[in-house]
């Protein structure tokens, strides 16, 4: 038995594992991918900390921008922790060897980002996630060479083992060798990331299916703010891969079919650097108003010139050339909003603790909440580091001060039985069509703008898909690298979460952040809805309740950019 088992090895998971190890714990890391394949590595534009290297800045300003960006739904105590601890965490990463870009003085460079009052985003060209995930893996390897830190690579986490109200382990399918394995620990940290794959158009990797949220939901834990899915304004047409907000941070324009910088009509002060929810809505309005190009708008970098594009945005250029056949030095890039980041997740306190003894969560799977109804660009990488560290420390302290939980073997036996049933089924539908229909219908009916009747229709569609999923067939019956099996399980996760999301969306009869209802409830309603939504799983499906937002200094104001 480990002291701490971390599930997921992206930035939050590895940061948690490193901190738990440094606190003195024996650490196991379970990941369905090799750690460096995790989707944190695809983050591009940067990570926010008020270092003040580019212009005057302060944690207080960072916190206020984040509160306002969250449309006042973020928990302000958590946001202050993020803003205050971010600079120290960035310096730590730099001293571990992270390859950040430098300013003329040789200090860490910082670029402007959406809805930020100061250039606050530390970066490495436009591959910031890549350099972060590699430096964290380097530090993980270093510790594994020194002491008890073991990475269970390509272990697919399927269920949490909770016994007597305490989380004691995670049941995994060993992808390379086959077989269910129970990895046990005194504390478990979920760091499994997001679930963009619920949508057809998404920046997210194939791995992002909401595994941890669904595992927690089915284990009886509350999920918080599940209606808030962020649509990133600049995802490449047609492939959907991310083109960084850093393009606009470096001065890029968004233009419509006529070449008009339309953001001036929606956010006259911030223009292209308004918050993501605002920009995505503006783009959708342009496209639906017939002023788009092939269902997209255009991101114009031409005026930045070749030198700036080649040094600051080489990865974005590579993506545009490879997947859209466009060289941004000479032509604007076709972009449209796409599902990118889920603000909600497993409800935690400011140390990552959930309501189940011994279970913690950090990163996109968790909802502390620092992002509220809309996340600011550059804040998610920072959250993975700061709250990954905090969760790792808290999980280690819990493990080192408690005796092991009792393990009966019943959860593993249940899992073996259910897996046997799934693999034994020979007649039925294969998963792909259900998955594709889920993705298309969610985009259509629960996207940038939401309408009462479309959301009601989506609930029916999800119910139909869930019924079909009851008879889903896994064609591969083998033990070795059976991704047909894990793909079917992931689809099950997404069908649970889609139901939860839409139900929470229907209940929130206001417009706030990423949840926008232009036809029936276009205004924010602080009287009724300055509250988090909380969803729990019951035998009759998801059940909704609410929770107060934790406020410290800032009262809600009208939000404009």
């Amino acid at each position: 038995m480990h002291d701490v088992v971390v599930v997921g090895a992206g930035c939050a998971g590895m940061r948690a594992a490193i901190e738990a190890f440094d606190t003195g714990a024996d650490v196991g890391v379970v990941s369905k991918l090799h750690p460096t394949r995790s989707h944190s590595g695809a983050a591009e534009g940067g990570i926010n900390a008020a270092l003040g290297n580019s212009a005057e800045d302060s944690p207080e300003k960072h916190a206020f921008d984040t509160v306002k960006g969250s449309d006042y739904l973020g928990d302000q105590d958590a946001i202050e922790i993020l803003a205050n601890e971010a600079p120290g965490d960035i310096y730590q990463l730099e001293h571990w060897g992270c390859v950040f870009s430098r300013n003329d003085e040789g200090k860490l460079a910082q670029r402007p980002f959406g809805a930020a009052g100061s250039p606050r985003t530390v970066y490495s060209a436009d591959i910031t996630g890549h350099v972060l995930i590699h430096v964290l893996y380097e530090q993980t390897m270093k510790r594994a060479a020194q002491g008890p830190l073991h990475v269970y690579e390509e272990f697919f986490a399927w269920r949490l083992a909770i016994e007597g109200g305490r989380c004691v382990g995670v049941i995994c399918w060993d992808l390379v060798n086959g077989g269910l394995k129970l990895v046990t620990g005194k504390s478990i940290v979920l760091a499994t990331g997001g679930m963009g794959r619920i949508y057809r158009a998404t920046t997210n990797a194939y791995a992002c299916n909401g595994d941890g949220m669904a595992m927690a939901l089915r284990a009886g834990l509350p999920l918080k703010d599940m209606e808030f899915m962020q649509f990133h304004p600049t995802t490449l047409y047609p492939s959907g891969v991310l083109i960084t907000e850093g393009c606009r941070g470096e001065g890029g324009f968004l233009i419509n079919r006529d070449g008009e910088r339309f953001m001036a009509r929606y956010a006259p002060n911030a223009l292209e650097l308004a918050s993501r929810d605002v920009v995505s809505r503006s783009e959708t309005t342009e496209i639906e108003g017939g002023r788009g190009v092939n269902g997209s708008v255009l991101l114009d970098l031409r005026h930045l010139g070749a030198e700036r594009i080649l040094t600051r945005l080489p990865g974005s250029r590579e993506l545009a050339m490879t997947f859209a056949g466009v060289d941004p030095i000479y032509d604007p890039i076709p972009v449209r909003p796409g599902a990118h980041y889920h603000m909600g997740g497993v409800a935690t306190d400011n140390w990552g603790a959930t309501e189940v003894d011994g279970l913690y969560a950090a990163g996109e799977v968790a909802c502390v909440s620092v992002h509220g109804a809309n996340r600011l660009g550059g804040n998610s990488l920072m959250e993975t580091i700061t709250f990954g560290r905090r969760a790792g420390q808290a999980a280690a302290e819990h493990a080192l001060s408690s005796s092991p939980g009792s393990i009966s073997g019943a959860p593993l036996a249940d899992a073996e039985r259910d897996l046997g049933r799934l693999l034994a089924r020979k007649e039925g539908e294969r998963p792909w069509k259900i998955r594709d229909e889920l993705g298309s219908s969610m985009l259509e009916n629960f996207g940038v703008f939401r309408y009462g009747e479309r959301m009601a229709k989506q609930l029916e569609i999800i119910a139909g898909l869930r019924e079909r999923f009851e008879n889903v067939v896994v064609e591969d019956k083998g033990d070795v690298f059976n991704t047909d099996l894990t793909g079917a399980i992931e689809l099950g996760y997404m069908l649970d979460l889609a139901w939860v999301m839409v139900q929470a969306g229907i209940a929130r009869t206001e417009s706030r952040g990423a949840h926008s209802r232009p036809a029936d409830f276009p205004e924010r309603d602080d009287e009724k809805f300055l509250k988090h939504s909380i969803t729990r799983w019951t035998d009759d499906g998801p059940e909704l309740s609410d929770q107060e937002v934790r406020m410290t200094k800032w009262q809600p104001e009208v939000r404009s950019y």
Binding site: M141, A145, Y330, V480
Partner: protein, 364 residues
């Protein structure tokens, strides 16, 4: 479009290999990875391959297409399909196959771990602020830090095929990432470790790693930089290092390679004794000129001038070699045959110049 693929399947449980052909409908913009997904979804759910980000950054989907390593998510299929080609897809080379297109990456990671792949800053307490380092100095490891550890270079490495213990291009590039980092305090120890057996001098310079790397890391350049840095630190006891040094000395002094002296200078006099008979045979058949008197090239002063130039440029070691290099920035756009570059960003046929609302009249 209609895409046909031949895929080398491998059933690990039965130990059987088979080449199977598949044909599917795919959207025109589909990549090789998209096509594999269509095969797996609609034709054969047992097909195994790794994938995740589908945007060339996670490094999961390395495999071979017609015998050369590629990232499946980077290969657009349109031209291949339109030309009626049926590419053969197989697992990467130099690594054991687990199933179909999935290889066991443990030997790969073992070699990464062997190069002490973390910064050795020489202290425990990081202090209050960041290191101050010029961007230009950090550019020395720009290319090496782009590596996504996909294994495409290792798949193609000829030296590794001959010597499975060779550290290989990915691990050596990772080594250079730290040797070239001004914040690292263990460069000399690193260079000593990498200069040993199975290290930098065992590379045969075939440049396959450089050619197949999907991210422009240029591992062979990294190995060359390590060699230069090792020499600069006087770490030259390996035969490979001595061999390279003799090339230089020979060219500097007489303007051409004195092959007869190459063997003793590389492996030492004592070890060369056993090769004397072989060498005499070569002399007898006129394969090598007699060592005495040394033949001096006609324009030896040109060779010496060249030597001085290279020596001057190389005084900064790796920092001197790589300044200004930008791997991704070097990419060229060929989809349109260079038409966009010819007309420029705002030339005839380009998209209109952007304007702010209300500015339209001024713009026109």
């Amino acid at each position: 479009m209609r895409v046909a693929l031949k895929i080398w399947r491998f059933d690990a449980q039965r130990g059987e290999r088979a080449l199977k052909e598949y044909e599917v409908d795919a959207p025109d913009e589909a990549t090789l990875l998209d096509c594999l997904d269509i095969v797996k979804d609609r034709v054969d759910g047992t097909l195994a391959y790794r994938k995740s980000c589908r945007m060339m950054i996670c490094g999961s989907c390395g495999m071979r297409m017609d015998g050369a390593a590629v990232l499946a998510c980077k290969v657009r299929m349109y031209e291949i399909a339109e030309a009626g080609q049926i590419p053969v897809i197989s697992a990467m080379g130099n690594l054991p196959i687990v199933k179909d297109l999935v290889v066991d990456m443990q030997p790969f990671w073992g070699k990464i771990r062997a190069v002490t792949p973390w910064l050795e800053p020489g202290y425990a307490d990081p202090g209050e602020k960041e290191h101050v380092v010029a961007q230009k100095r950090m550019d020395v490891i720009h290319k090496e830090s782009l590596c996504i550890m996909c294994g495409c270079c290792v798949s193609e490495c000829n030296s590794m095929e001959a010597d499975p213990d060779f550290l290989g291009p990915a691990a050596l590039a990772k080594g250079m990432r730290f040797v070239g980092d001004p914040r690292d305090q263990a460069s000399v120890e690193r260079l000593q470790a990498l200069s040993g057996e199975h290290g930098i001098w065992d590379c045969t310079r075939c440049y396959f790693c450089q050619e197949r790397c999907p991210k422009g890391v240029d591992p062979r350049d990294a190995i060359a930089k390590l060699g230069a840095e090792a020499m600069r630190e006087g770490i030259d006891s390996d035969m490979g290092a001595k061999h390279a040094k003799w090339f230089v000395t020979s060219a500097k002094t007489t303007g051409w390679l004195r092959e007869t002296e190459l063997v003793p200078k590389t492996q030492g006099i004592a070890k060369s004794v056993k090769d004397v008979k072989f060498a005499m045979g070569l002399v007898k058949h006129g394969k090598v000129p007699p060592p005495f008197p040394p033949h001096v090239a006609k324009h030896v002063e040109e060779a010496r001038a060249l030597y001085d130039l290279v020596k001057h440029d190389g005084e900064q070691g790796a920092a001197g070699i790589v300044q200004g290099e930008k791997a991704l920035g070097r990419l060229e756009h060929h989809d349109d045959g260079g038409a966009a570059a010819a007309r420029g960003p705002y030339g005839p046929g380009s998209f209109a110049k952007p304007y702010l609302p209300g500015e339209q009249e001024d713009a026109e």
